[in-house]
Amino acid sequence: MLCRGDKELKLVDGAATDFAAKELAPNREEYDQYPFGPFWDKVVKKAFGLGFFHASLPVELDGMGLGLSGLSVILKSLCSQDASLGGMIFTNALAQEIMLIAKAEKLFEDKIAQQKDAFGFLLAFPSFNNPSEVRHLAQVKKTKQKATLSGEVPYVVLGGLGSYALLPACQGNEQDFSFYLVDLKGKGVSVSEPIFSLGLHACPAVDISLDKAPALLVGKEGKGKEYFDKAADRMHAAQAAMASGIMEGCFAEALAYCKEREQGGREIVDWSEVKMMLANIAIQAKSAEMMLSRACEAADNNQPKWQAAARVAAIQASAFACEAATDGVQVLGGVGYMKDHGQEKRLRDAKQIQALMGIAPMKKLKYMDSLLGKG
């Protein structure tokens, strides 16, 4: 599906597709019960073993160096079956991206890369918020030797799992903010029970309370907005990939059902209104895939204004995914609304993914600002 038709990507795609079919799809309902059922530790560890959490990391940092195309291929394939693992990989990759943009490779190597255990490697991050839009920031207090964070940071994804969290913080009423690395097992840190959310149940988030928790500055002070915006530019393509995967799975399940289910004595795929709904889902899925492909090509080749292509792909693909998943449930009727099918989860996950990295309408305004040269 993507621009880079190289063998490596095809292998990655094959591995992710196989993993999704064998590990995710058969137990989707069970995994989705979290936080009211067990967490899927084994699946996460297998995904870690396959390198999915290292996909976009450079080789120098023991990553796979697959770039945005590689990450997108993995996310798209996984999300076609179950987007929760995709949510974990996305959050981890976004936090990694910020650390790399902040040139904090050394810190990353010391604290994160050396972790051999899957959960130790996970970097928690409030990936559903843009800190410069809604200022959920901790308060930083600095002395000559160290910095400490206090306050609340809500909805930190992977916060109950990983060893470290990358958290935004500012001093007093300062407008600028910075990113800090916080040891989640360290003193002064407490995490809530997993938050019960709309979708991505097995990609848990927690609220974090900080009370003079030791923290390490990531990159330069006051550069949080710049780091986040740059990372978001790249990760918009990954968001589009998740949405695209959801649509792919949604269409496949809707089509299969329509070929089986009869109404009025014939397969419902032969009812032209149903066929029209299927066509809309297919068109939205294909459009998203094309936008994603274009965005990855532009970003990986560092083409001029590649950021715009990625942002448009994210905005439009996630909107399409919400519409397609709504119709995907509708095509299956009452069955689609039940948890023993994949469609209702896809709808919840699609809506959740739309909120990644900030409020959806603000993304459109930011895109317009970029066109006006204000962003």
Partner: protein, 501 residues
Amino acid sequence: MTYQPCTPEYAQCAPDLNDVAASLVSTHATPRALIKETREVVDLARRFNKEVVRPYVLELDRKVHEDPDFLPWDFVKKANDWGFYTMWVPRLFGGKGYFMHSMSAFVEEIGSACVGMANLIGVHYLGMATLAATWNAPLMMKIFRDVAAGEKAGDPRIISLAITEPGAGTDVEEPDLIDKGNITCHAKKVDGGYVVNGTKIFISNGHLSKWHVVIAYSDLDLPSQNTVCMLVQTGQKGFSFGRHEKKMGQRACPASELVFKDCFVPDNMVALDPEQIKDLKRDAKHTFQQVLDYVLGATRAGVAAFATGAARGAYEEALAFANETEVDGKLLANHEWAQCMLAEMYKNVNLARLAYMETNHHNASSGIYKSMLSKGMFQFSKYAPQFFLDKIAPALVGNGLTTKWLRKQSFDSQPEEELHRTSGWGSLAKFSGTDLGMKNCHMALELMGQAGLRHDQRAEKHFRDAKLLQIYEGTNQLNRLNLFKCLISRACPQSCVFHDA
């Protein structure tokens, strides 16, 4: 140009005002008592929301996620204690005698806090309305008075409607499709009654109901002409509950599987079958279609009212968020784009409400409420002494003659255009209201971003709840086709509906 009075030629041009402006045509005929009681039930619903629904809504939703088999008996008992299961039952049958017209406003209120809980109350009236639409007076007397006795005893005895089958959802709601459908719930005629075999699925409130209005078919090869509507009681031999579905939303309200294995239903529990209606003007298929149209004209307006509630709930959560959250350095409510989104959501709430209200006017002027709102009947049912209704009237209505008279009056006197109008408007309200409800839920989550995703912020629950409204009571696609059939096809003389190939 000088004024000239309208001539019949122009007055008869389409669209007929009776079709498109029921409120204009019927407002003057609306009894004042009806307006007063609508205000009363809205006040009551708001109090109930404050005291019962809002403090419990998130806890109940979590409980059902933790234990998918949890049944909210506690809530049903509360609703029973508050008198909600007899509120819209006619006084003649032991109820409080509020008119169904006001129920939509009530469920909108409860639905604005929790559509699932609104369903725990409202679905009871789906069963009640179906039994009422058969005009079987002795059965109504028996069942509704039992519901009233349950209220007095603190023992809820609610009613469900069992129609959907594993292989047939849309088919069973449309007599034009049913003969081609995969229908399996069989009612075999035997001496003294029927023996039922088969399964019903997705039955709202099934596990919580004492009474089940079951639709089965005495001939599976020609179900449209052989529909049997009967009452089955929980605990009855041959009847059991199957699985309790795990739904995306509306978790408070269980969706149940009902299983019938050689379940004998005596004749006195058969509300309607082909034998009972053979003397009516229309054949069995079209009479049963009339029953469905009577019921769905009202209950689809009810679903639109639930959806208005969901649209309102989503809007109110988004508004609260916009009032307390700074985005990009200023209050969200001060962003022009957010103001426009909120205005759009406010509009959606009010358009959804207008749709169900207009449909209720149609039901009052042409549908299920028509006979109840005729002046004499309204005054009688509202103001007749309770002693008379309890002690004397049951003997008068509890015989077959009354049922025959009621059926003649209701079924035979309803012209086709009234049938089409109420059925078409029921569909219009249903798909418009539920689409607008879903639209608002999408918008609320977009506006709220991360906060909207959290269960404790309530918006996501409205989103999950609202989706089902586009599916039950006939999918929105079926309802669009029904609207075409009822209100548009006459302008397309060569068209045929449900024969797409």
